[in-house]
């Protein structure tokens, strides 16, 4: 087999494919390189359709991956071994702009090119598992670029807007990141201990529901302005939007900073963060919730939210996470 760079731990398939292409000095303009696509005739409509909706991080069964393997002399088992991931709530490829700059820098040092991780695509992991920091968000315009990782790395290094993002590394912001990271780790541990894929899916659903509710406008008093940066899509959380579309879809479109804060608030509701720890964050946001009572009071402001939340959480009840896991639940739930 010709020399193919080894995937970095947790690397996404698109990032690895791009590195393979760089190694082979193939810099043409497509995710899988136009020359590769053109070299093999895409006769059937299904293959053409596959190219349009191709997600280079998760579509392992796409015919385009088969073409890539054939052209670069890689076996499908090799690709499947590294890039077959378990199902988790995932951000769509058209909104996937979260990244960890520190991870990129470390891969530039080791392999000479920035890489992206598949975990950055997961909605429930807004904290970098290696560095424990909240992921950054690049402008939505980067989505769809064949060399998105390299472009984001360049943008972060040079653009003044991106440089201002470093404010997030202030002390209280780091405290929030560490608390949110603790909630994320607890969730991941519970998930790992789950006996079956169905239970795992329910645990994901439970956490995702909490996150969805806490991201709704009724809880926006707990967020700071930088959690909703200008790089987000324009109509994100607009008051004119449908409640249900906002509830179900915005979690996949919002920034990693907002998702980290909602994870922190979910930690308060689940009793994983105590009042004293949460109180330290009052220095970044005076209105930040410290107790479950504060969070419930905010959620109560939205008519119908508690009812809907209870239905959704009950649907995802497991032995690990259930309605009884929540602290100081509202009276109507008892």
């Amino acid at each position: 087999m010709p020399y193919i760079p080894e995937p970095i731990m947790g690397e996404s398939m698109s990032s690895w494919m791009f590195r393979v292409r760089i190694t082979k000095r193939n810099h043409t303009n497509s995710c899988l390189s136009e020359t590769v696509i053109r070299s093999v005739a895409l006769c059937s409509d299904s293959e053409r359709q596959a190219k349009l909706s191709f997600d280079p991080d998760f579509d392992l069964d796409s015919p385009l991956v088969g073409i890539f393997c054939r052209v670069y002399g890689v076996t499908m088992t090799y690709v499947a071994e590294y890039f077959r991931h378990e199902v988790q709530p995932t951000i769509s490829r058209l909104c996937a702009t979260a990244y960890c700059y520190e991870c990129m820098v470390s891969s530039v040092r080791t392999v000479g090119a920035p890489h992206s991780k598949v975990a950055w695509r997961y909605a429930l992991t807004p904290i970098c598992t290696t560095h424990g920091t909240v992921l950054y968000d690049a402008p939505i315009e980067f989505c769809g670029l064949y060399d998105i990782t390299r472009q984001i790395f360049r943008w972060h290094s040079t653009n003044p807007v991106a440089i201002r993002l470093k404010d997030r590394r202030s002390e209280p912001a780091e405290a929030l990141a560490s608390l949110a990271a603790r909630v994320q780790t607890s969730y991941m541990n519970i998930r790992e201990n789950a006996v079956s894929a169905a239970t795992q899916s329910k645990i994901d659903g439970y956490m995702l529901t909490l996150m969805r509710a806490l991201l709704m406008p009724c809880a926006h008093c707990f967020y700071v302005k930088r959690d909703f940066p200008a790089v987000l899509p324009k109509n994100c959380f607009s008051t004119d939007n449908s409640w249900y579309v906002s509830f179900y879809q915005e979690v996949f479109r919002t920034s990693a900073g907002a998702r980290a804060t909602s994870l922190f608030l979910a930690g308060i509701l689940l009793g994983w963060i105590n009042e004293e720890e949460a109180g330290e964050l009052r220095s970044i946001n005076h209105y930040m919730a410290c107790t479950p009572r504060h969070v419930w009071a905010a959620l109560k402001k939205d008519t119908g939210m508690l009812m809907w939340l209870k239905t959704e959480l009950s649907r995802n009840n497991t032995d690990y996470l259930s309605l009884s896991s929540l602290q100081e639940v509202p009276k109507q739930w008892r």
Binding site: D55, L94, V245
Partner: protein, 178 residues
């Protein structure tokens, strides 16, 4: 075949861009629900059609679906085709006097009414969830969830109907077991 059909009119929280149109519009969808089983049988939407025809078009689609193995797509059922179909021999009532046949009893008979009582709130929760919680394969192709194109919208509705029906059938079988 079906005892009680109920129309459910619904206005989704997103707009739909019809092919060739300049701007997206808010639409009404009519779902035909079988009240006995709680399954959604067909649907039609007001995308380019008058809202008063929605139920008729959905029923027509149901008829087509029952007679042939076509999949519900919401297409090709306008007012004209509805009235045309009424004139086809298949639905024309034969107005002939039947001779030498026993007449049915003149006593009143009530149809056996054994309906599964639909819990509206549970059904609505299930329906709304499936309508707005999109699977990753579909979500991965949507840039703006507040404005969808026509083909995607139809795919989304068909998918959500299938999921609602599956979920409802599972719920029913679980209740029977219990």
């Amino acid at each position: 075949m079906y005892t009680y059909l109920t129309p459910i009119y619904f206005r989704p929280g997103y707009t739909v861009l019809k092919e060739g149109a300049r701007s997206a519009s808010s639409i009404t969808v009519c779902f035909v629900l079988d009240s006995k089983t709680g399954c959604i049988l067909t649907w039609s939407c007001s995308l380019g059609y008058p809202e008063v025809d929605l139920y008729a078009r959905a029923l027509l689609l149901l008829r087509h679906f029952c007679l042939s193995s076509a999949q519900p797509s919401g297409d090709g059922y306008d007012r004209g085709s509805f009235y045309n179909s009424l004139l086809t021999p298949r639905v024309q009532i034969k107005r002939i006097v039947e001779k030498d046949k026993l007449l049915p009893a003149l006593k009143w008979k009530t149809a056996p009414r054994k309906l599964t009582m639909l819990n509206e709130r549970i059904f609505l929760d299930c329906f709304l969830r499936n309508l707005y919680e999109w699977p990753f394969e579909i979500r991965n192709t949507i840039e703006n969830p507040y404005s969808l194109n026509e083909s995607l919208f139809k795919r989304l509705i068909t998918d959500s109907i299938n999921r609602t029906n599956d979920e409802w059938r599972n719920e029913e079988s679980t209740q029977k077991i219990n």
